[in-house]
Symmetry: C2
Subunit: 117 residues, 2 copies
DNA sequence: ACATAGTACCTTGCGGCGCAAGGAACCTGT
DNA sequence: ACAGGTTCCTTGCGCCGCAAGGTACTATGT
């Protein structure tokens, strides 16, 4: 089943390579735990994702040192693992912002969605 | 080697799912042949890609009926396969424009690269 | 005639991400 | 005890972009 053939795949493909930086951006505003991140990303329909996506993503971020984690008690339920941004993560996020704006503007020019008309 | 670890991978990941619509957008302006598309995409640094990426991509577009092709003589060199947009391709491009602007704005909000303010 | 360089097309194999599906563990209320 | 909510995580798959390699046609130089 070619990705190009079904509807949902388009948005999924767009999220690729962006989602992790959206997570870093959320964390730059303060630490969060996994399910909380799923919920906050879900507030933006275009960025809605699932735990099956997020947890491996968070593992990668931890492995490369862009986030650190700490376990904390939950008021109700199992303990939560809170993620917080490291300085390296903040640097990576800055770098992404630069790459993203370049990329975004290029796509806008080519497909004709530039907001300056 | 984790994608997140090396520099080039960022831009590559962003291109995912967008490149094919950039191609459609170029074709909406008139038919092109393969190498020509590589060159024109190369004009946008953020969209620069190679033939190893483009030819499989073009095959997919042809398979789903978003483009049709016709062979044409070249003034110097082997014959060229020209790609042109079908009505279905134009519809898909329109649909992408809508999805793209939604996605783009969501990312801008979350990572703080919104051009407002 | 032959080699070289330029043009143009295409294929193979790999790595990585996002996802669906499933599973494990902890707490609370009945 | 048990059901239901919360939270964490893993496995297997599909797909795309890429590097590398391969084929074929034309023009040019010797």
């Amino acid at each position: 089943m070619c990705r190009v053939e079904h509807q949902a795949g388009l948005a999924t493909a767009l999220r690729r390579g962006t989602l992790e930086f959206c997570v870093l951006a959320l964390l730059s505003d303060g630490e969060r735990y996994g399910v909380e991140l799923v919920r906050e990303l879900g507030a933006e329909i275009a960025l809605t994702t699932s735990e099956g996506t997020l947890y491996p993503l968070l593992s990668r971020l931890r492995r490369v040192g862009w986030v650190t984690t700490s376990w904390r008690e939950s008021p109700a339920g199992p303990p939560r693992r809170y993620y917080s941004l490291t300085p390296e993560g903040a640097t990576a996020l800055d770098h992404f912002r630069s790459e993203w704006t370049t990329f975004r503007d290029a796509v806008d020019r080519v497909v004709g969605t530039d907001r300056r008309s």
